[in-house]
């Protein structure tokens, strides 16, 4: 096994900290896990979306007669016959909305981007809907479009993002630098492409309510959106996502298939399923392409004297999408002179969307490649350069970190990887016909916590039911919440039943940003504490109770029992306490908030050091990532098994980003062209090499009560840079435009 999980110096209370198997594993290996398009209803109908072939213009005419004449066809829905929709932008604004006017599906005749949904056919079977969609004749009037970021850089405007103020004097810093780099890096558009295409099954309820199985990272975000957009009675919509087939950000905003499916269901008063095709998965959000200029200067010892990071990214005409793209360059290393700039170019495209480690993935890629270039310019080992510029403070915020074990990531990662055996000269390492390259990069991500609520219910059988509206997009939420609840309540994990992915459950934030366990986990922990208080009180009321006069600190909750510390023979089963209370169950619900007072004086972040070996076939230019060591500092790890999987996944994403992924636009048509898995390449089994994950010991008493920072994003940040740096080391070629395909190396 390629995992290094050492015991932490202050371990978590079991079963936290143990590599527990996923509690939803059985459902996932048997096909019992049901995703949005897997739910059935006797009155189910099927939708098929028609997408705009033009990038900008208007719909002149929609002739649906031929389609409607076909057997089984129930409806051709468009802006001409849609149900009434809200008029103001506020109603369309969701929890992850960008600044501007959110896209309104089937709202009017305007075409804002190629691939925009313009109509939807609903029929009794999927095949009928699909066939009829080809018979809907739509006439468009095209207007000129602009989709080329590089051609429109002159049109950039300041991004509506709060950047750290410039500090020091960058010009003076550069003037006294003995080593300098001034380089431009470009990253392309990438699409999330979760394996499960976006889908919604809207099941009409007898009372007219809507039960909606949706692919989403925010059940309540979707519910609120629908209530607002359609003016529906609060309580009439329930959004369920017990299983989500990957998302990586694609489910952060309500996607158009949800709106369209609801429109059709309301119009027909019937249940409707709408699943997007893989091609249509390229017709909404994506990671925006960027053009980034990095200027770095250091003294002869490699100490940074100046950092300048200017980024230009693409957005839509209707929203200004921003992410944390350049901030990292002001915080990852010590430097007293820093200037950051971030601009946007609006184009005739859909709005970009947060995609796994949004901003950091692209921004840290450019920074960490530029640092490698600086190391060569200064004649210093790339790892040494990073250590010489190590910082204990986040200079952007002028605060110390609540914890930062990045130094340990460097040292333990380097040791495992064998970095000391690296010869610095490019093209100096070889194995047969393959050039070997060893590269390193640093990763960083914020450690955030949001407000969240959770409910815990203990029944008379001693089973603990834990619920919150949050989701499990493959991250392990079910399992980790089970462990947190079992530890907090003092019950066996088998006695814990976690129910999530339902808008009717206690309020939870979107599942994103690596803050789910920090937020919802904290709420579960606090709910258990509140329930223990009630249980003790109930135990005290039992006749001849051995707990009559004891306080909370004199008892322990362990093995599903309440026990007197001083005399462990005095104990009561929790189920017994519940039964004696006269009610069938006891419950507690809490709203947890981050401890702002405690957190405020500190910056909080997770870090990583990524070491990569590539093998490059010199004759063919083929790059293989043969070995990766990813050392992670993310606080305490609740489940080393599922956390390791998150990091592995991040590394695989980094391999895809570095070597394969690029959604290519035909600017004449203004359309993404490689909209399939045959042409948009993601890594496959055969692309894998050895990947080792190390969690270094990092104690954090500030970030939250668990001391856990989240691992969904940090595994990706820095990986592509480490690969690009390794490719340079192998070949002597610095490829500054991702992905590094063989044509760029030959």
């Amino acid at each position: 096994m390629s995992a290094t999980v050492k015991p932490f110096s202050v371990p978590l209370e079991a079963p936290m900290g143990l590599p527990m198997d996923r509690v939803d594993g059985h459902a996932k290996v048997t096909g019992e896990a049901q995703y949005a398009a897997d739910f059935h209803s006797a009155d189910l109908t099927y939708g098929w979306v028609i997408s705009s072939p033009i990038a900008h213009g208007r719909i002149v005419d929609i002739d649906a007669r031929a389609a409607l004449a076909l057997p089984g066809v129930l409806l051709v829905l468009s802006h001409l016959n849609r149900p009434e929709l809200a008029s103001y932008d506020e109603s369309y604004t969701d929890a992850d909305a960008a600044e501007g006017s959110p896209f309104r599906p089937l709202y009017n005749d305007r075409i804002l981007y190629s691939g925009q949904p313009v109509a939807m056919v609903v029929a009794k079977t999927l095949e009928q809907a699909r066939m009829a969609a080809a018979q809907v004749h739509i006439e468009y009037r095209s207007e000129p479009h602009q989709t080329d970021l590089n051609a429109q850089l002159g049109q950039a405007h300041k991004a509506p993002a709060e950047l750290p103020k410039p500090r020091g004097d960058v010009s003076a810093g550069l003037a006294r630098s003995s080593a300098k780099v001034e380089v431009e890096y470009q990253t392309p558009a990438e699409h999330h492409n979760p394996m499960e295409p976006h889908a919604s099954t809207v099941v009409m309820q007898p009372d007219g309510g809507l039960l909606i199985y949706d692919k989403t990272q925010g059940t309540q975000n979707c519910r609120t959106y629908l209530e607002q957009v359609f003016g529906l009675e609060p309580g009439s919509v329930r959004v369920v996502a017990h299983f989500v087939g990957g998302a990586f950000g694609s489910g952060l905003r309500p996607q158009y298939q949800l709106t369209l499916a609801v429109m059709a269901a309301l119009k027909l008063n019937r249940s409707v399923r709408l699943a997007l095709t893989r091609q249509q998965m390229f017709t909404f959000g994506y990671r925006p392409p960027t053009v980034q200029r990095l200027t770095l200067g250091s003294d002869a010892d490699g100490k940074l004297q100046a950092v300048k990071h200017q980024a230009i990214a693409q957005t839509s005409r209707f929203e200004d999408f921003t992410e944390h793209l350049v901030e990292w360059s002001g915080m990852l290393y010590h430097c007293d002179s820093v200037e950051l700039d971030y601009q946007l170019v609006p184009l005739d495209v859909f709005t970009p969307l947060d995609m796994r480690a949004p901003g950091a993935t692209s921004g840290v890629f450019a920074l960490e490649c530029a640092m490698d270039e600086l190391a060569y310019a200064a004649g210093i080992c790339p790892l040494q350069l990073r250590l010489r510029n190590y910082t204990e403070r986040n200079q952007n915020e002028d605060k110390p970190y609540s914890s930062k074990a990045l130094r340990e990531c460097y040292s333990e990662g380097a040791e495992r990887f064998g970095w000391a055996r690296r010869t610095p000269e490019p093209r100096s390492m070889r194995d047969g016909h393959e050039l070997l390259g060893w590269g390193v990069a640093t990763g960083v991500w914020e450690a955030m916590q949001q407000k969240a609520s959770a409910r815990v219910v203990l029944d008379g059988e001693g089973r603990l039911h834990v619920s919150s509206a949050t989701t499990d997009i493959g991250t392990g939420t079910y399992t980790v919440l089970t462990q947190i609840a079992a530890a907090a309540m003092g019950v066996d994990s088998d006695a814990v039943h976690v129910l999530i992915g339902d808008s009717s459950l206690p309020t939870a934030p979107l599942q994103g940003g690596s803050f789910t366990i920090s937020s919802v986990g904290s709420a579960v922990q606090q709910a258990c504490t509140a329930l223990q208080k009630q249980l003790l009180e109930a135990a005290q009321k039992i006749e001849d109770s051995p707990f009559a006069d004891v306080s909370r600190d004199q008892v322990v909750f362990i093995d599903g029992r309440l026990r007197l510390k001083a005399d462990p023979t005095k104990q009561l089963a929790l189920s017994e306490i519940v039964r004696s209370s006269g009610s069938g169950q006891m419950q507690a619900q809490v709203d947890a908030e981050p401890d702002s007072k405690k957190r405020e004086p500190y910056a909080t972040a997770s870090h990583s050091a990524v070491f990569v070996e590539v093998r490059v076939d010199e004759a063919l230019g083929i790059v293989r990532v043969s070995r990766v060591v990813s050392a992670i500092a993310a606080g305490r790890v609740v489940n080393p098994k599922t956390a390791r999987s998150q990091i592995l996944g991040g590394v695989v994403w980094g391999i895809g980003m570095a070597l394969q992924e690029e959604t290519q636009m035909d600017h004449d048509l203004g359309r993404f062209m490689n909209h399939s898995f045959a042409e948009y390449h993601v890594p496959v089994h055969a692309d894998m090499g050895e990947i080792e994950v190390i969690f270094v010991d990092e104690q954090d008493t500030i970030v939250n009560a668990l001391g856990s920072k989240g691992v969904g994003e940090i595994g990706l940040v820095g990986v592509a840079a480490a690969i690009a740096n390794a490719v340079y080391h192998a070949t002597g070629k610095r490829i500054r435009q991702l992905p590094i395909t063989l044509d760029k190396l030959l």
Partner: protein, 185 residues
């Protein structure tokens, strides 16, 4: 196979009656000629364990075993398989007892979101029967038709490697075991 013409005589909408053995159960199913094997399983039989990830044979999420061989069920029409024997993910376990491969997937955390998992497991089962995978590199190569966007590949590899001897042993002792296990819910 029998064919029932549509009321209006349009051949496109004629119904064809198939006899299929699905997960050990003999079924009679009426399909239109244009219905894929995957859509028949998912929409007509509610065997939704087989997933649609691309509908173009590019991702492998819909992999099932057809007469013991792995196949992308989205790329073939149901009407072409009268008399065939099918195993879907719902038929891999023996009742409540998980197949060694399923147990290995859980043990090695060989999935995250779980959406590609039915296809990965069906594909690995058939690969074991093909008997061409003799190394980790072989497994990687021969499983490359099954995409996993969560990036669980190395855990999937560990799981398959772990369960391969059990899969092969089972094939030797009770061939053809695949397609005969359990029955669909």
């Amino acid at each position: 196979m029998t064919t029932t013409p549509a009321a209006d005589g349009d051949e496109l909408f004629a119904l064809h009656t198939l006899r299929l053995n699905i997960n050990g159960e003999q079924r009679r199913i009426q399909v239109h000629a244009w219905t894929t094997l995957l859509d028949m399983l998912r929409e007509q039989l509610q065997l939704t364990g087989s997933k649609k990830g691309c509908d173009h044979g590019q991702c492998g999420a819909c992999t099932v075993l057809l007469d013991g061989k792995r196949i992308n069920s989205c790329l073939t029409l149901a009407v072409m398989h009268d008399g065939a024997e099918l195993t879907t993910i719902e038929g891999v376990a023996d009742g409540e007892a998980l197949h060694p491969l399923q147990r290995a997937f859980i043990k090695h955390d060989a999935f995250q979101c779980g959406y590609c998992t039915p296809g990965q497991i069906c594909s690995a089962l058939a690969m074991a029967g093909e008997n061409h995978a003799h190394s980790r590199a072989d497994i990687r190569e021969q499983m490359s038709g099954n995409l996993c966007r969560c990036g669980a590949y190395n855990n999937i590899l560990d799981a398959i490697e772990d369960a391969l001897p059990a899969c092969r042993g089972e094939l030797e002792t009770s061939a053809p075991a695949l397609g005969k296990r359990g029955s669909a819910a």
